[in-house]
Amino acid sequence: MSEAKEEKIVFQRPKALCDVVTHYCPGCLHGVVHRVIAEVIDDLGIQEITVGIAPVGCSVLAYNYIATDFAEAAHGRAPAMATGMKRVHPELVVFTYQGDGDLAAIGTNELIHAATRGENITTIFINNAIYGMTGGQMAPTTLPGQVTTSTPRGRDTKLAGFPVRVCELVSTLEGSAYIVRRSAYNPSEIRKLKAAIKTAFQVQMAGLGYSLVEVVSNCPTNWGMTPLESLKWLQENMLAYYPLGDYKVKDSVKELMAKK
């Protein structure tokens, strides 16, 4: 049999992702989400006009990995910083990349007000139900009964209340246009995640309002599991409390999606 057909590369590192080793733990889905964002930036051809806002948390060094302009916000203040940038430079595509400790704890106020003002920015929200960088303490998104270093007997809802469901919360605000929850635990979910991030960026570019894509993610290190066990735990426990789906797709966004 002759090998006449020329070999083509069908999958490789996207241009908008720096060729460096990340500091993330083995099996952490941050790397997958970074890559998906970079792929979307490549697909839309917006690398030169995109500005990311990095949070405080594990993904604090996102500016070293995604090859667009980047700024580092004070803890939780990424949506406020993005608001300023977008209002001064409306031609830019501005996105914030935030974990659950940054967005759902110290930064809840900024998030809610950016959404209710209908700022034309995009938020990528990584929810892994724990504080990763600081050593696995309870986050606002920690599941009832979940063991963390600050809740060694499991989260007691009488003492610590209930987890925040960010998508459900933000979708009630009039200014939000596209609010969806996705995950990245298998290739099919990763494909859906990519489509959602692409739509979110397009919503922003069309000026339709605030867009947020939540990614139900993992933390093998602080959950105390192997990466493969963590994906199983994610599917069995996280998805029950944080169901995947579209929480708000405004009619104007539906029209935009129908046109694409």
Binding site: E3, E7, K8, I9, L17, Y24, G27
Partner: protein
């Protein structure tokens, strides 16, 4: 002939790529260490069963897999 190339120095040995292959076990964990001390994954395809679907590459958080078809 579809194939993948794993950058063993980039691989952190998390194993996410080993569970998604539709052809079974073409991507396996290696017995050897890389310079960081991780056991990287390896591509084992003596019967040329790889279809180049890139599922393994899609799962890789460290973008260590390149797929050729």
């Amino acid at each position: 002939m579809p194939r993948i190339v794993i950058d063993v120095e980039r691989c952190k040995g998390c194993g996410l790529c080993t569970q998604v292959c539709p052809k079974g076990d073409l991507v396996q964990m290696s017995d050897e260490f890389n310079s960081k001390g991780y056991r990287p994954s390896k591509f084992v395809d003596p019967e040329k069963k790889c279809i180049g679907c890139a599922f393994c590459a899609n799962m890789c958080p460290d973008v260590a897999i390149t797929v050729y078809r």
